[in-house]
Amino acid sequence: MQVPAPFDYERATSVDHAIGLLSRLGPTARLVAGGHSLLPMMKLRLAHYEYLIDINDLHEELGYVKVEPTQIRIGAMTRHRELLESPELRRSFPIFHEAERVIADPLVRNRGTIGGSLCQADPSEDLSAVCTTLDARCLIRGPGGDRVVGMADFYRGPYETAVGPAEMLIEIRFPVRPNGSSAYEKVGRRAGDWAVVSCGAAVWMEDGVITDARVGLAAVGPNTTGIPAISEALRGRPPSEEAYAEAGVLAARHCTPVTDQRGSAEYKRHLATELTRRALRRAVARIDAAPASPRAG
């Protein structure tokens, strides 16, 4: 039987209460949201905490998708299922729906949260790749107040984030820009598994030219990886198969996969190339298909 080592259970009734408990109990305490990453790790003794602070009662406070003119704000306790089923989110960022469909399974998605996924900082985690792709900003709250950290600074290595011991991830913000779309590609060994490699792409265009493009890869480095070189290479160019191919080559060059039970480093580089091309191609096709696009015919 797998059970976690003994710990004391606390239940937070508000964000301030959770931060107060973290401050009082110190680094031997950990927040638990859905628990579908943390509890398995505690069962395997890969993680141990003396206190678990259950923040599921904060779902009412932190479970939301708020659409504003220039950004979408998602509360840290928003569950995978809510992200999968949000029509607003799907309209602005189809990448969310596509990624959520291949994250674990429906039962796990009923519990897991976006905040938990990000704070777990697993390099193979799909929502992290989505947030990296969309250049998300993370609102972190601690005893000293709020701060906002971009995805490039949020991750500090595998299973390590910028969230300090007495801090809590509150909200994830996604800038909304016109004439853009996105897509997600994943190769896994079986349904619901972690990625062998995943790739998110987001593209913005104007007058037939790419104004910005972003690619985020999972499972090919110590954290999910943005590839700024691809953005530089694609800006100002019309979309083309040559451009996607070039982006694919850049993806393989700038990622650092390792050989493990999910595949060889060589195979993962191949996937990084191919999935980058596919994701960019589909993101652009979506812009073309959108009624608001000047290119729609």
Binding site: R11, L39, L52, N110, R111, G192
Partner: protein, 173 residues
């Protein structure tokens, strides 16, 4: 610590360790052994129960986390029980469907499959085969009887189309 929750419509309170998992709480503390304890790693779904009406894997929920919530197990499946008093055969339509369509072989995955399937039918009374496969994609049938499981859920859907009884009604009783 003390934990209180509603299980199959009845409020229960027990003293438990913080680390106790919901699946062991149900089986060992309440004697509800219909919920099966399988892989321990949230992969197989044999331990699926409802928490506030949604299927979850009870090996990856602490009993303490279920405190204050409504849990439903296979023993509390809406149409089940009432063998002596009910109008029917004491089976929920989804149970009857698995019997009719050979939806089980060894039976180990069956309680979890039934809970997930019934939750699907409550939110989507006429699912496609693909939707059924998606709904049970977090559950493993090691006899690989997936085809008959999908067929069973479809059978239950048509059965329930005539005599549907909502879970909400049942909870309120």
């Amino acid at each position: 610590m003390q934990v209180t929750m509603v299980v199959n419509g009845e409020q229960v309170t027990r003293d438990v360790e913080g680390r106790l998992l919901l699946v062991h709480f149900l089986r060992d503390h309440l004697g509800l052994t219909g919920t099966h304890w399988g892989c321990d790693t949230s992969n197989c779904g044999a331990c699926a129960v409802w928490m506030d009406g949604e299927p979850v894997k009870s090996c990856t929920v602490l009993a303490a986390m279920a405190g204050g919530h409504e849990v439903r197990t296979i023993e509390g499946l809406p149409g089940a029980g009432d063998l002596d008093f009910g109008p029917g055969d004491g089976l929920d339509p989804i149970q009857r469907a698995f019997m009719q369509c050979h939806g089980l072989q060894c039976g180990f995955c069956t309680p979890g499959m039934l809970m997930t399937a019934r939750a699907l039918l409550d939110s989507n009374p006429n699912p496609t085969a693909e939707e059924i496969r998606e709904a049970i994609s977090g559950q493993v049938c090691r006899c690989t009887g997936y085809a008959t499981i999908v067929r069973s859920v479809q059978w239950a859907a048509s059965e329930m189309a005539g005599t549907r009884r909502s879970v909400a009604d049942d909870v309120e009783q």
